[in-house]
């Protein structure tokens, strides 16, 4: 069928554009960007945003936003650190994933049952999680536990090649769930048109619970990756944890712009690469982080948001 051919052409064009972009980056940075050491850093840095973005894309697919993901990652990373230092790798992985999944699952139940718009409900939850994290960090009982860095021996998931393996595994899992399972198809159906889905026999409530679980798993893994990479998680109050979600958010928004041409699950790691590369480039070019880089991120979010909405006729609040 002509369809496959068209897909192939799109894929080739896409890859070519990406390669061209990377080369241009390299030229602009005076050859520093594609230097082996730097590029390794780039690749290991896109794992966390990619996982978070996959998690978010499932939430978005059925019309929810979750701004508390940063807070969830903080708490999951704490769990990872504490149990990792106690029990080694099983502790790192299980504790992080369980806490992450559980919290997102709780969030999702709150969104679904209270009917509070998810953006504002998730901001409230972010406040609570952040404060909890801050309490754990400052309270005498737990202070020493969570402020001790994760043992260097247990950080392999944050380094190449293991982080790349994790990325590949995450990609395969996300792709299959999103495109090839009844749950994935039902999630997309609900996001598209809840009424039709219900009439066609999709169990909406059960599917929504699945969304919470699936997103939670991805975000749990994101936390594990993050703590494995950095070794220590810090937290401040004042909704500062929300900043952890902005990069993944930019990635999902960019991926959504391409949605009509490229499957969103495929687009996410690619967009992660693009976005992180841009920031890497900015760093190489000595644009100060925390100030002007943030300003760029804000600008990207706005531009992607506007581009994604182009041509839409529906009412947006």
């Amino acid at each position: 069928m002509g369809n496959n051919k068209k897909n192939l052409t799109t894929a080739v064009a896409f890859a070519a554009a990406l390669a061209a972009a990377l080369v241009i980056f390299n030229v602009v940075s005076g050859g520093k960007f594609l230097a082996r050491e730097n590029f390794t850093v780039v690749v290991s840095h896109i794992v966390y945003p990619a996982f978070t973005a996959w998690g978010l894309s499932f939430l978005f697919a059925c019309g929810y936003t979750d701004m508390s993901v940063g807070g969830v990652v903080v708490l999951a990373a704490f769990a990872s650190t504490v149990f990792g230092n106690l029990y080694g790798y099983p502790g790192v992985i299980i504790a992080g994933v369980v806490v992450g999944t559980l919290l997102i699952f709780i969030n999702f139940n709150i969104f679904a049952y209270t009917k509070i718009p998810s953006w504002i409900a998730s901001i409230s939850l972010a406040m609570i999680y952040e404060a909890t994290g801050f309490y754990l960090k400052t309270s005498n009982a737990t202070k020493s536990l969570v402020t001790t860095a994760l043992n260097r021996d247990y950080r392999v998931l944050g380094q190449l090649p293991w982080s790349a393996v994790l990325l590949a595994a995450g990609f395969a899992a996300a792709y299959i769930v999103y495109n090839r399972t009844t749950v994935g198809l039902n999630i997309r159906a609900i996001g598209g048109n809840t009424e039709v889905s219900r009439a066609m026999g999709v169990n909406v409530n059960r599917t929504l619970l699945w969304v919470g679980l699936i997103s939670g798993l991805f975000i749990g893994f994101a936390a594990v990756v993050q703590i494995s990479y950095s070794g220590l998680m810090t937290v401040k109050t004042g909704l500062t944890s929300m900043s952890m979600i902005f990069q993944p958010l930019a990635i999902v928004l960019l991926a959504q712009i391409m949605k009509k041409r490229v499957n969103i699950i495929i687009a996410i790691p690619v967009c992660s690469l693009i976005i992180y590369s841009i920031f890497n480039l900015l760093t190489i070019l000595h644009v100060p982080s925390g100030t002007l880089q943030e300003a760029c991120l804000g600008a990207f979010l706005i531009i992607f948001g506007v581009m994604g909405r182009r041509g839409g006729r529906e009412v947006v609040k």
Partner: protein, 351 residues
């Protein structure tokens, strides 16, 4: 023949919340709450929240949200202080208001023309503009060795309450007038109720959105003036978390997240007092740690949103059951496939 509007249950909730919060802290603080010093403090603390809230209400009434007021306050405060030091004291207030309004109008244009959700846009502004503010502060740090700038001495009297209080009252009254008695408010509420129908009547939706965000930004600028003049200098954390405090105040006052006819200025004032009471009360009873107050605020926000939604949906459910009597038979028959087709067009990812 003339009957006044009945008091609805939904409207009583914020009053009850206020009284409960008040009584709780009155008891918990063993009356320390009522010391004249503390009452003054309460008013002082709630001033900026009310100011920003009055501005944001125009946006919220339309069913949107402006989470950029905090950083906008910081940006206009920093810019105005800089202008005052460079160009002279006269530039302070105009610069703050101008910068605030520009940021607000920008928000309005992107939301109305770009069709981006206001939440997405203003949270992007929150991060982007904060980056710019930090950049300015850091550059100043490099040149002057001090991240905060001082106000020129001639402007320090602006910080006195004898001047601030009347100005504050005038601003709130003007906002109340604009919101309750002019087209701006009336059309804004109509947009919140049903944007499509407002547009179909001929309400200039785009213009109204730009104006609403513009006013919100302008008042953020005024908030910048109030904040800087109160301390006599700018600081790093200025305006941080302010957007949430203001949003909480509005929702705590009983304004619906979806906006519409229920939006009222008095609710903003009431909600601002409630939220200030909480922050102030926690400090008085010795629980001022940011983790505790933030947890309390988070839980409270969830609870208050849940209650308002519950109260309102009970009312709608009652209506809905009656509605079925009419639309269940006639509506379903007559609505046509074309429209159903348009409804499907709704994006996959409404955020």
């Amino acid at each position: 023949m003339r009957r006044q509007q009945r008091v609805k249950l939904g409207d009583a909730v914020p009053f009850i919340a206020f009284v409960v919060i008040f009584l709780f802290f009155a008891v918990a603080s063993r009356g320390k709450m009522f010391s004249s010093y503390n009452l003054m403090l309460l008013v002082d603390q709630s001033m900026v929240t009310i100011l920003l809230g009055c501005g944001m209400l125009f946006v919220v009434a339309q069913g949107s949200i402006d989470l950029s007021v905090g950083v906008n306050l910081a940006l206009s405060g920093v810019a105005a202080t800089y202008a005052a030091n460079i160009a002279g004291a006269w530039a302070f207030i105009p610069t703050a208001m101008l910068v605030g309004a520009i940021v607000g109008v920008f928000n309005g244009v992107v939301v109305s023309k770009g069709k981006v959700s206001s939440f997405m846009l203003t949270i992007s502004m929150l991060i982007g503009v904060r980056g710019i503010v930090n950049f300015i502060q850091e550059s100043l740090m490099k040149t002057t060795g001090n991240g905060s700038q001082k106000l020129p001495d001639s402007l320090l009297p602006l910080g006195s309450n004898t001047l601030r209080a009347p100005v504050f009252i005038v601003i709130v009254l003007v906002m109340a007038y604009l919101f309750e008695f002019t087209k701006l408010g009336r059309y804004g509420k109509a947009i919140g109720e049903n944007e499509r129908s407002a547009g179909n009547v001929g309400v200039p939706v785009t213009l109204m959105k730009i104006l609403a965000f513009g006013i919100s930004g302008l008042l953020a600028g005024v908030g910048g003036v109030f904040t800087v003049s109160k301390y006599g200098a700018t600081n790093q954390t200025m305006g941080q978390f302010m957007e949430m405090q203001v949003a909480m105040a509005i929702f705590l006052g009983g304004v619906l997240v979806t906006g519409g006819a229920g939006a009222k200025i008095y609710k903003v004032v009431l909600g601002s007092l409630s939220i200030t009471l909480i922050v102030n009360g926690l400090a008085i009873i010795g629980k001022s740690d940011s983790d505790i107050s933030q947890t309390v605020e988070g839980i409270l926000l969830l609870a208050i949103l849940f209650i308002t939604i519950l109260v309102n949906s009970r009312a709608t459910r009652r209506r809905a059951s009656r509605k079925a009597t009419v639309d269940g038979i006639s509506g379903a028959d007559s609505a046509d496939a074309e429209l159903a087709g348009f409804r499907i067009d709704k994006g996959e990812n409404e955020t």
